[in-house]
């Protein structure tokens, strides 16, 4: 379980995240949606611990085994296989785990390619493999398929769903696609100008948004 209390983050005296209270239940899948600059990435970075709030606290009762995939994951200039292995503890099964994870996201044929030579979509799939290569309790994914093609997106989505079901981990991801939120999330959180405007079961919120902001945001999308 993760709990956020009285969170306030400001840049240049402008509030970019203002969350009085938010709770993520263990083993549940959450989707963050909202327009650009609504605070999705800031919230994920806060949960990942790469950002400290100006005010408030984040209480994690499952602090170990967190995996966070940023919006622009860095692909290191060594082999794809080593890029995934670096996320794993040194053990005899390390290579096996990394290869299996790469196969799952359709990157099996790229194991010897250099990470920094991959396309944006391939780098995202490799980064996803880095996260799912070992069991974790909390997975944070920032727009995990924003650069992948449809085939890659299907593979990543299915891999994430299988992984979450297998590990029983908490999944929190951001997306610009309500359709993806519907496919992956049990619960959706709609953010607007750094505030949570609406939160609820994915199907209900995406089909019948209660707030005006969510209605305006979703009217541009065809589910």
């Amino acid at each position: 379980m993760i709990e956020l209390k009285d969170i306030l983050i400001q840049y240049d005296q402008r509030s970019v995240l203002d969350i009085p209270s938010l709770r993520f239940e263990k083993g549940k899948r959450y989707g963050l949606i909202g327009e650009n600059g609504s605070g999705k990435t800031t919230l994920l970075r806060l949960l990942a611990g790469t950002l400290t709030p100006d005010q408030g606290s984040v209480v994690k009762l499952t602090p170990n085994g967190m995996g966070y995939m940023p919006q622009h994951p860095y692909a290191f200039s060594f082999s794809v296989l080593r890029n995934v292995e670096m996320a794993l503890d040194k053990s005899e099964v390390r290579r096996k785990q990394a290869l299996a994870a790469l196969e799952k996201v359709g990157m099996g044929q790229f194991v010897n390619a250099r990470g920094d030579k991959l396309s944006g979509g391939e780098a995202q799939r490799m980064a996803c493999a880095r996260i799912i290569a070992k069991p974790r309790q909390l997975i944070l994914l920032d727009e995990p398929t924003s650069s992948t093609d449809i085939k890659g997106m299907d593979l990543v989505e299915q891999t994430i769903l299988d992984y979450a079901a297998q590990c029983g981990c908490t999944l929190i991801f951001s997306t610009h696609s309500p359709a993806q939120a519907l496919r992956l999330a049990e619960e959706v959180i709609f953010l607007h100008q750094g505030k949570i405007v609406e939160q609820g079961p994915a199907e209900k919120l995406l089909n019948q948004p209660a707030s005006e902001q969510a209605r305006l945001f979703l009217q541009h999308w065809q589910l």
Binding site: A48, T50, G67, Y68, Y74, A87, A127
Partner: protein, 228 residues
């Protein structure tokens, strides 16, 4: 044309003074670049990879020092090493050591500043990805250094370029003493003033040749690293 031919004759004949000047120049430039790299790269990584309160001020100071006029650096080192200065007891003035110190003062901010710039671009991306998969801060730092290895070579080369072409500071603290502290740039200046153009041209050719060789070598290393 006659002067140019004489310059090549001097070069091919390997004049003992010319040999000595080239040797001192290389010794001083390589040593000062090496020391500056050892100081500047770690310092640049620390400044570029970390966020701290005085970072903006440190960067401004660094950029100011990157453009430090050589004569000012020479003056500072001269005052430090002169007989009445705090380091006067070491009697280092008018020695290659004094020239190396002056060059380290000049080159270290350049290598530090360039390194900090490169690292500050790459470090946030690496930090976020590495933290996301649970790597320790020490391993993040090692990966950051590894990922910046190619620009680091260019930074060191920029430092070497400054060292080998510098004249003001080394003239002040080295004194241009024949067979001791005379280097290519100070010799070119002196020989030109004396009207010995063939000697100055011969040294100029060597300077250009060294610069071309170093650039070619580094270019090759960078190409190989990037395409491997």
């Amino acid at each position: 044309m006659q002067t140019l031919l004489e310059a090549f004759r001097l070069l091919l004949g390997a004049d003992p003074e010319l040999r000595q000047i080239i040797a001192v120049t290389m010794q001083m430039s390589l040593l000062s670049t090496g020391i500056s790299a050892l100081l500047g790269i770690p310092l640049g990584v620390l400044i570029g990879a970390n966020d701290f309160k005085a970072k903006r001020l440190v960067n401004r100071l660094l950029h100011t020092l990157m453009g430090l006029p050589p004569v000012v650096a020479g003056l500072i080192v001269f005052l430090l090493l002169s007989r009445s200065g705090p380091l006067g007891t070491f009697k280092l003035l008018y020695s290659v050591t004094a020239m190396v110190i002056a060059q380290v003062v000049l080159i270290t901010p350049i290598i530090t500043g360039l390194t900090a710039n490169v690292v500050s671009i790459k470090a946030p991306l690496i930090r976020e990805t590495a933290a996301g998969i649970g790597l320790s801060p020490f391993r993040r730092m090692l990966y950051t250094i590894y990922e910046c290895r190619v620009p680091f070579v260019s930074n060191i080369l920029a430092g070497f370029g400054r060292a080998i072409a510098e004249v003001g500071a080394v003239q002040m603290v080295g004194g241009n003493v024949q067979f001791k502290t005379r280097i290519m740039t100070t010799a070119i200046m002196m020989q030109t003033n004396m009207g010995h153009f063939e000697f100055a041209i011969a040294l100029g050719i060597v300077l250009l040749l060294i610069s071309f060789l170093v650039n070619s070598l580094v270019g090759r290393i960078q190409e190989k690293t990037l395409s491997a």
